[in-house]
């Protein structure tokens, strides 16, 4: 589906062309007349802007065909989280009402995107990772599947208990359990098709990511503490559950599946066994580089793209070297897993800047030439535009306040670290921006071909870091990094930014006192959805950022909104509410200060969070009346 749209901008806001309003009214009329899902009438009908100070180029790329369902974590293989449904639009979004709700009965953080397939809504809970199949008309439970994750998993694994969702393919729902299994469950009957053990929880290895099904393989990556876990991506046969291949993120080339087809863009990534040589002896065995984020797939080249997490251990002095292949992105052959190229965002990462955030596969005009690219907003604060075939970074623009680096040198590909902000042994390094969760954490962005903009939920956080000092928890003394986080410039903890990836500029921003820890959803109705940690689910105008509607859910939102066309032809929007998980870590872990000077900015703001919301998982489904 190809869409065109032209935008005007004057005095900092968009002017909506009058013909657009007419078109929108036509959409409304159509909705009222009950003609259901309609192709975007407003699009394409627009005359090119002639007098605009801002005008994003027409999006000329292809979008995947849309059947109105939601079967993959990011909606499509390109990870756009864009739906062509447009019944809900900028004019009627204010009428959105709750259609029905469903309590999961669990109080851990709910981060998953619901799936919608053939009249059924599927939701996956945090540990114990129950899969609910709900009748999308009534919210009644059709069946539930409980994988019974090992009780010993509780308390043995470090970290949070979250799950970021599943995938539908071949009549099955595929997802992962915290204790390291991938399960396939028959989407109609709820019967388990198979359950394959991939990770070992006794080693601190967990799985929280949403798998992507590519052809006949389910792609799964591990997560876990920064301690001793060696990252990998595994392809599981979608039918048999057998492991087809495994690609490690550290170690010798044969483990990383680096062979003759591996052609990284930069010379510094070429050479034998760099996954061993860029580490102190044997440190690669516990080097991290887990794969807990998102996977994208390009059917044309048959390549999958995904990021690797930060190197371990956290104290960077213990692992001199480039620490390959952590904190970067791999392109791999989807059938064999062979590495095709790699690019490292943060070489020898100092700040826990994982490279696992989403990769949107788009086609953008770069220097007047249409290029197939990857757009990747990284934790280190830059939005990278990479050539999809070679991994060459074409641009890297800061989308938040960054002082840990001075930019990305495109000639060498190197992030230009700022020496003044390097954490030092025994002394405090102040105002490190962005802080450890990065300018943006896992919270996935969305892209609308109608505006050409990327919609980014992200953080505005800085930190003071003391590399080592004595600390204690409940009578257990230890030496640890002392990190104190606070809101960045402006004093707000989070931002929702509309970003023009071609010109590398923010078009509008919405500020929030808390970090925005939910996913984003863009629709052809030019409505963008996201949630806040104090529990508001919001609809905003994709072009202007103006708020159209909001609804206070029962708990803070750290889930991912989805939209679908129900069997009644109506457009629905669904979101899981339920604060905790990483957000909980932000509250209780990240904001460690033990210092009276810390009661400012973000620390103060997060302390307020319990006044706004409490725990509890609940699904909300919204529709027009």
């Amino acid at each position: 589906m190809q869409e065109m749209f032209y935008k005007h901008r004057k005095a900092g806001t968009f002017e909506i062309p009058s013909c657009w309003l007419i078109a929108a009214a036509a959409v409304m009329a159509c909705v009222l007349a009950g003609c259901g899902d309609s192709k975007s009438r407003a699009a394409g009908a627009q005359p090119p802007a002639t007098e605009s100070s801002y005008s994003a180029p027409v999006y000329a790329g292809k979008m995947e065909p849309d059947d109105g369902q939601w079967v993959r974590p990011a909606k499509d293989y390109a990870s756009t989280r864009y739906s062509s449904l447009d019944q809900i639009n900028v004019n009627n979004a204010k009428q959105l009402k709750v259609a029905w709700t469903f309590s999961t009965g669990m109080d851990r953080g709910h981060e998953a995107a619901p799936l919608y397939v053939n009249g059924t809504l599927y939701i996956i809970t945090p540990w114990p990772n129950t899969l609910f199949a709900l009748d999308a008309k009534t919210g009644a439970i059709k069946w539930q599947y409980n994988p019974n994750p090992s009780p010993s998993a509780k308390g043995v694994a470090c970290c949070d208990w979250v799950n970021r969702g599943g995938s539908y393919a071949f009549g099955n729902i595929y997802y992962n359990t915290l204790d390291g299994f991938t399960v396939a469950v028959n989407a109609t009957t709820g019967k388990q098709v198979y359950k394959t053990k991939l990770g070992d929880i006794t080693k601190g290895e967990t799985i929280t990511m949403a798998p992507l099904v590519v052809k006949d393989k389910v792609l799964v990556g591990n997560s876990g503490g920064e301690f001793g876990v060696r990252g990998w991506l595994i392809a599981v046969d979608a039918h048999s559950g057998k492991i087809a291949w495994r690609a490690y993120s550290t170690g010798p080339d044969k483990d990383v599946l680096i062979g003759p087809r591996f052609k990284p863009f930069y010379g510094s990534d070429k050479g034998q066994d760099l996954g061993v040589k860029t580490w102190p002896p044997d440190a690669w065995k516990i080097g991290g580089g887990t794969v807990w984020g998102w996977i994208s797939y390009d059917p044309e080249t048959n390549l999958v793209f995904y990021g690797t997490a930060n190197p371990g251990p956290w104290n960077s002095d213990e692992r001199p070297g480039d620490n390959k292949w952590t904190a970067g992105i791999f392109a791999r052959d989807a059938d064999t897993g062979e590495a095709i190229w790699y690019y490292q965002y943060s070489r020898h990462d100092l700040y826990d800047y994982d490279g696992v955030n989403e990769n949107l596969l788009l086609e953008l005009p770069i220097n007047g030439q249409q290029r197939k690219v990857i757009v990747h907003p990284d934790r280190n604060g830059y939005i990278y535009v990479l050539d999809r075939a070679t991994g060459q970074p074409l641009s890297a623009s800061p989308f938040a306040y960054v002082n840990t680096s001075k930019g990305v040198d495109l000639k060498s590909g190197l992030l230009q670290y700022n020496d003044e902000k390097k954490p030092r042994f025994g002394s405090v390094t102040r105002e490190i921006c962005p802080s450890a969760p990065g300018a943006k954490d896992w919270t996935p962005s969305a892209f609308s071909p109608r505006t050409g903009l990327l919609y980014l939920p992200h953080n505005n956080l800085c930190e003071d870091e003391e590399d080592v000092s004595v600390s204690y928890i409940a009578g257990t003394p230890y030496v640890g990094a002392n990190v104190k986080m606070f809101a960045g410039p402006g004093g707000h903890g989070g931002e929702f930014t509309a970003w023009d990836p071609v010109n590398g500029k923010a078009v509008w921003k919405i500020k929030d006192r808390f970090p925005i820890w939910s996913g984003a959803l863009a629709t052809a109705g030019d409505v963008v959805f996201f949630g806040t940690m104090d529990g508001y689910f919001k609809a905003v105008n994709a072009k202007t950022g103006d708020e159209l509607w909001q609804f206070k859910t029962g708990s803070g939102i750290i889930g991912q909104p989805v939209t679908y066309k129900g069997s009644d032809g109506k457009q629905y929007v669904a979101i899981l509410s339920g604060v905790g998980g990483w957000a909980g870590a932000i509250v209780s872990g990240g904001l460690d200060s033990r210092d009276s000077t810390a009661a400012l900015g973000f620390v103060g703001a997060m302390k307020e969070l319990p006044k706004y919301t409490s725990k509890g998982g609940q699904l909300y489904v919204f529709a027009l009346p």
């Binding site: 601190g204 928890i473 009578g475 872990g589």
Partner: protein, 266 residues
């Protein structure tokens, strides 16, 4: 006689009026973390807090709070409580008294296996399942010493506080793991409560280079601005050292040294 009685009366009155006049000594303590403290007042830090309050002539009042991250900021510094008991002396965000004891992380094994483990560099560790506790989102410090020796794959994680805290010691007693490496007081207390005899030995090296200590001296902490209270507590600790030593012995704290034994060693 009458005069003497009057005098005594006055003394009693004066004493009780002091107790009534001075506000309660508010101590933040974990409600469920034996052997350190619990809501029933059964931990050794509870007992030491009682001693100190008595000596200061102040009523003891507990504020039950789990000592996690942000704890000092949210409680001590906000005046929710005035005192923390059982804090490492080098803990920077607070003002600490002189230490009243020090202890070490220890290796815990079954006596009947005659392992006598006492070093992180013991090659036998390579073939062992090693229990280590998990703090917020990371392992306790022994895991770092193990990871440097490429022993991460041998680590089994356990919860640090609450109902689950004896589990790591029970796992040694039941042979589920070969060895646990835990903070001494916890090891001593729960080891004394197992049916089988356990062997406890301080870890070596005591300071794993470059800067990972396993012996810590523990003190009482107050707000940085409360120098006067700190001085009072120091005097009280000095006076009560014999009782404190008795308490620590009763809780089987291994290899501890009190301030006086340390002074003697110097």
């Amino acid at each position: 006689m009458f005069l003497r009685f009057l005098k005594l009366c006055c003394v009693i009155l004066a004493a009780s009026s002091i107790a009534a006049a001075s506000p309660a000594l508010k101590v933040c303590a974990d409600p469920d973390n034996l052997p350190f403290s619990n809501r029933q007042g059964q931990g050794f830090d509870n007992r030491i807090a009682e001693l100190l309050a008595r000596d200061l002539g102040r009523k003891l009042e507990y504020v039950w709070q789990r000592a996690g991250r942000g704890f000092v900021r949210e409680n001590l510094n906000k005046g929710v409580c005035d005192v923390l008991v059982g804090v490492p002396v080098q803990f920077r965000p607070v003002l600490t008294t002189s230490p009243y004891y020090s202890s070490s992380y220890v290796f815990v094994t079954r006596k009947d296996r005659h392992l006598n483990l006492n070093s992180f560099d013991d090659p036998r560790l390579r073939k062992m399942k090693i229990g280590v506790q998990v703090l917020d989102d990371d392992y306790a410090p022994p895991a770092r010493a193990l990871s440097r020796r490429q022993l991460t794959q041998n680590i089994v994680g356990f919860d640090v506080a609450g109902d689950e805290s004896p589990e790591i010691i029970r796992a040694v007693a039941r042979g589920k793991i070969d060895v646990a490496i835990v903070w001494g007081p916890l090891a001593g207390y729960y080891a004394a409560r197992q049916r089988v005899a356990l062997d406890l030995r301080p870890v070596n090296p005591e300071l794993d280079p470059p800067a990972l200590p396993f012996r810590f001296a523990m003190a009482v902490a107050v707000r940085k601005s409360d120098r006067e209270l700190k001085d009072q507590l120091d005097r009280a600790l000095m006076k009560s050292h014999a009782q404190i030593e008795r308490i620590l012995r009763a809780y089987s704290v291994p290899e501890f040294q009190t301030a006086t034994t340390q002074a003697r060693l110097k």
